[in-house]
């Protein structure tokens, strides 16, 4: 039977913070929405995330950061994707992110930022509306 193209999403935890409960919950929500979710685990560098995303041919990278390093880590991933000619991969972020930083991240090319308390349905819907399988 004709396969439907599936959305492939990478869920990654960049940097030093060691809490991935939220990331795993998001991964599960994506799975339940019918996406194929590549989970990379904790303590990833932006370089590792981008390399893995390219090998896995994902449509989107969702990153979570709770330790305050998002201002460096998220834009670094966006930049590395550009360097590799892979900036058609959508980049999203989530975690403990101060309101003031969101505009800066978006200006740096992060397409959407989800803060704590965002309903899972809303995050899934955003992906469905903004990310299509390539």
């Amino acid at each position: 039977m004709k396969q439907k193209r599936r959305v492939r999403v990478m869920v990654a935890k960049p940097g030093l913070d060691g809490h991935d409960r939220g990331a795993r919950i998001i991964a599960r929500a994506y799975r339940d929405a019918g996406f194929e979710v590549v989970y990379t685990g904790l303590h990833q560098t932006p370089e590792e995330i981008v390399e893995a995303a390219i090998q896995e041919d994902v449509d989107m990278i969702g990153m979570s950061s709770l330790a305050g390093a998002h201002r460096y880590l998220f834009p670094a991933v966006v930049q590395l994707l550009r360097d590799r000619g892979a900036d058609d991969i959508v980049v999203c972020g989530g975690g403990i992110i101060p309101e003031d930083d969101i505009a800066k991240l978006k200006a740096a090319g992060v397409q959407e930022v989800f803060t704590p308390g965002t309903p899972l349905d809303e995050i899934v819907r955003w992906v469905e509306e903004n990310v299509s399988p390539r």
């Binding site: 039977m1 339940d32 989970y39 990379t40 893995a52 090998q55 896995e56 041919d57 892979a86």
Partner: protein, 319 residues
């Protein structure tokens, strides 16, 4: 402009990644690319790693990659995880344990979902093996989805099939009764520091020794090795056993040369015909609306599914 196949052979990562995606999504145009790639395949050594969920397959694969890289050889990894039968989605988490290799240009790791295919290996995985082979990887490690008892498709595509068990699963032999025991070229008892590993070893040995006649006639006798993958203990010895198996295959008539092995070719071609026929027939019935019409008739009680199936299939077969 280089063709897709040429870029794959040249080792272009993005092209390879995209091609495997297209294979997975069943894009018809990949067939031509695979045809073009086929003459470039047959050089890689394919190792299948199978066993129940939780026995440590990913950790083992991670260590194998490290050891193979130390030998100066390149590696491709295909890690298969299950698709949810309800949502069609999947969480592909085997990469977590292999991330230390992600920056190594000699390693290509790809996660794949089963997409509802049983047997631990999909046709897509087989084609993906060919792609990694054509891109020039020396070794291809296929980590199957954690399988139960007789889902052992991986043997049809691997030179060496490795069965991973851990001590103390049921009455030890329970988890590996029929199918799996017969297809293993190497048995690994992982987490061998746990209680019961000697018992598992003697149980396995007992079962394997029962094929003594085969070994007396020069058949391969599967070694049973203890490893502790997470501590990198026993992995070197394990890879030496793989080398011995490769040497054994090289000495048997057409062992190492998969393409010339009638049994394998027969199986693989059979599988391919099945997949292709099902795909074509279902596509045709779906496009014409006959499939949905039949579903409606069955639901409304106007026809039984046996008759509906015949009504759909027979005209195609005779046509």
């Amino acid at each position: 402009m280089a063709s897709v196949a040429e870029k794959v052979v040249a080792g272009d990562i993005r092209t390879v990644a995209r091609l495997i995606r297209d294979i997975d999504d069943g894009m018809p145009e990949v067939r031509e690319v695979l045809k073009e790639l086929y003459p470039h395949t047959g050089k890689a050594y394919v190792i299948g790693i199978t066993g129940s969920p939780g026995v440590g397959k990913s950790t083992l694969v991670d260590q194998m990659v490290a050891h193979i890289r130390k030998r100066g050889k390149t590696v491709g990894v295909l890690a298969v995880d299950p698709t949810s039968p309800f949502s069609g989605g999947a969480i592909l988490g085997d990469r977590v344990r292999m991330q230390r290799h992600s920056m190594d240009q000699g390693v290509f790791i790809r996660s794949m979902a089963t997409r509802g295919h049983f047997g631990g290996l999909t046709q897509s995985t087989r084609s993906a093996i060919d792609v990694l082979d054509a891109m020039g990887k020396d070794y291809i490690l296929v980590e199957t989805v954690g399988v139960g008892q007789d889902e052992v498709d991986v043997v049809k595509s691997a030179h060496t099939t490795v069965i991973v068990v851990i001590p103390g699963m049921g009455d030890d032999i329970q988890a590996i009764k029929a199918g799996i025991l017969e297809v293993g070229d190497i048995f690994l008892i992982n987490k061998a520091d746990r209680e019961g590993s000697d018992k598992t070893m003697s149980d396995l040995r007992l079962m394997i020794e029962m094929d003594q006649k085969k070994y007396n006639e020069g058949g391969w006798k599967p070694p049973i090795l203890k490893v502790e993958a997470v501590f990198d203990k026993g992995v070197d010895e394990f890879l030496e056993a793989v080398d011995r198996h490769a040497a054994y295959l090289a000495n048997t008539e057409d062992g190492l040369h998969f393409r010339a092995n009638r049994v394998k070719v027969r199986q693989e071609l059979g599988e391919m015909i099945k997949a292709r026929l099902i795909e074509e027939v279902l596509d045709r019935l779906t496009d014409s609306g006959e499939f949905d019409a039949a579903v409606t008739s069955i639901v409304e009680g106007k026809v039984d599914p046996y008759t509906a199936c015949e009504d759909l299939v027979l005209p195609i077969l005779s046509g």
